[in-house]
Symmetry: C2
Subunit: 170 residues, 2 copies
């Protein structure tokens, strides 16, 4: 199972050369993410959806009543790109829109029951993969994984991510 070196990208203590790049982590990130997204992709294609729909549905489902602008900031894509997939999700009854009660320019987004159901299905797949991974590792690994991934995020984005993960309500 683990000929993964316990440590390797080491020291360079007194000396000259720059440390060797952590190729293993670079590549593991690629492969892990590739497979992590592959389960949902399969299900999504049954619906004629792609990864973009997944992301939108996921965040809308997790943050009921979120605004379009919020979604744009999270996904870091343009209005137009979002527009297309969001429209599909709305047209096909996975997401609904509702004018903001206080600021009626806003369109608050909600997953419909149908949307929640699909979101759950996709989340289940990803949960299972994560659970399988963690089951193979010592207790504290989940916390370390969280910390590591968190530290990989752009410094100026971390606050937003924390708020999101905490399941902030507006």
């Amino acid at each position: 199972m683990s000929s993964l070196r316990p440590d390797a990208g080491a020291s360079d203590a007194g000396g000259g050369e720059p440390p060797a790049p952590p190729y293993d982590l670079i590549e593991l990130l690629f492969f892990a993410y590739r497979d992590f997204t592959s389960d949902p992709d399969t299900v999504l294609s049954e619906y004629g959806f792609g990864r973009a729909h997944h992301r939108v549905l996921h965040f809308v489902n997790r943050n009921p009543g979120m605004r379009v602008t919020d979604l744009l900031a999270i996904l870091k894509i343009t209005k137009q790109s979002l527009g297309r997939v969001l429209k599909q999700l709305v047209d096909e009854g996975f997401v609904m829109q509702e004018p903001g009660p206080v600021d009626r320019r806003e369109r608050l987004l909600f997953a419909t029951p149908k949307g929640m159901e699909l979101a759950r299905r996709l989340t289940d797949l990803q949960s299972r993969r994560i659970a399988r991974a963690l089951a193979a590792l010592p207790e504290e690994s989940a916390a370390v994984a969280r910390q590591f991934l968190y530290e990989m995020i752009d410094v100026d984005q971390r606050k937003d991510v924390l708020r999101l993960i905490a399941g902030e309500r507006r």
Copy 2:
């Protein structure tokens, strides 16, 4: 810094409901990967290249003399998709091809000096981000992160990944 819960997706020890999905890890993976790829993307756009070129160049550089088929298996894309980006990389002198010495049908791939230079630049960016992340965490975190990411990979893909990461020579 860390209102990341040390543990949360817990137990369900005796009871009925399925465990709550690890939304935090699911979303952290998304954000970490999003930002992890954003640094290289910036540099690549200077060259008129995209993420696809990065992946090809990366693996060719790391595995000199690899075959086209190997690359297809790693990237899990089609010949045609690969063909385009590979051709560009070859035409612009970042990658060279050479017939296999034993089986002359094969075209073995190598990064040129120019290709190595670009690969190094891209790797540096990713290395720095990883180093920054690890610097903020306790010693053993790198090992745990490796293990976690490794366990996230499809079971039937792990052998191949291990071979790759180990820097296997054919």
